[in-house]
Subunit: 154 residues, 2 copies
DNA sequence: CTGGTTGGTTTTCAAACGCAACTTGGGGCG
DNA sequence: CGCCCCAAGTTGCGTTTGAAAACCAACCAG
């Protein structure tokens, strides 16, 4: 099975991975969440090859995750901004970061902390159940067929 | 920059992506969370090439995310189980799924729902601030240098 | 001793990646 | 005007990674 065929699976994880699973895409989004918007900045910040960066930015714009807009006319300059769809990926980035903090940070501790501006404190966001408000434990969770399931999810 | 060099960056997202960012790795983990443990089951469930599956399972075992254990002596049969490190990836999978549900599910709705067994209800987990308990909005969050930062995170 | 199952490895080929150089559309300087 | 610089890519080309299919080995059942 080709990787791009993930798009057609009846699984939201597979479909999302089909979009975000290409190399570099998630780190590019990290930069975007940090406020980097210009091609050159991203290229320098990541050390990524320019053609790959161009390709990924193009894909993300196609997907509606980033928006390319001209911010200056003469000379023409562009920036890439997160759309709402892109901002909704924040939990993905946070969960990746938290796991990395726990298992890859080593003795020095996490390289980046998060501050929740509306309450003014450093925060470690956690997942809670929308019904009972308790923290989520994977062993307490069961998947269940939903309305969009057409073929067995295997 | 080669993709594998992400491992050395002072960024927990980059480091995590260096581990999970290979094609198929995240869908393999999805299967693991669904309780699939055997090579053949995963191969059939995913339609992935056998060599790739063998390679990815090996990497995940190396990383301590899965554990390979013999569950039967004669003939020798193995299974791959999530370790605690692996189970801690649950938020990553959930956040990917939720985003996919919102943007890729289409009219039919999500293919898979989650039931929180300890409260007995369908749930849509959400991130809350560990300090004030409010839901996380990406625009309210600011990254801040942490103790593990050695070079500028760019 | 033939066939089937599990859990892989080998071989072969195509697709994706990475680098450096080049291009385009504009400055700015003397 | 002539020359050099910048941002934002594009092109060409070689290397790495990924995918498909075939093969292998241990075992069991009939």
């Amino acid at each position: 099975m080709r990787h791009s065929a993930l798009h057609d699976q009846p699984c939201s994880i597979a479909r999302t991975v089909a979009v975000l699973g290409e190399r570099w895409t998630l780190v590019i989004l990290r930069q975007a969440f940090q406020g980097q918007r210009r091609f050159e900045d991203m290229q320098r910040g990541l050390g990524i090859a320019r053609n790959i960066l161009a390709d990924r930015l193009g894909r993300l714009v196609e997907e509606g995750i980033l928006e390319r807009r001209r911010y200056q006319e003469r000379p023409p300059r562009h920036e890439y901004r997160l759309t709402e769809k892109g901002r909704d990926l924040y939990p993905v980035l946070v969960s990746l970061m938290q796991w990395g903090d726990r298992y890859n940070a080593g003795e020095a501790g996490p390289p980046v902390l998060l501050v929740h501006e509306s309450c003014g404190h450093e925060t470690h966001p956690s997942y809670v159940c929308s019904h009972c408000g308790e923290a989520i434990d994977p062993r307490e969770m069961r998947p269940k067929a939903g309305p969009g399931l057409v073929a067995p999810a295997a």
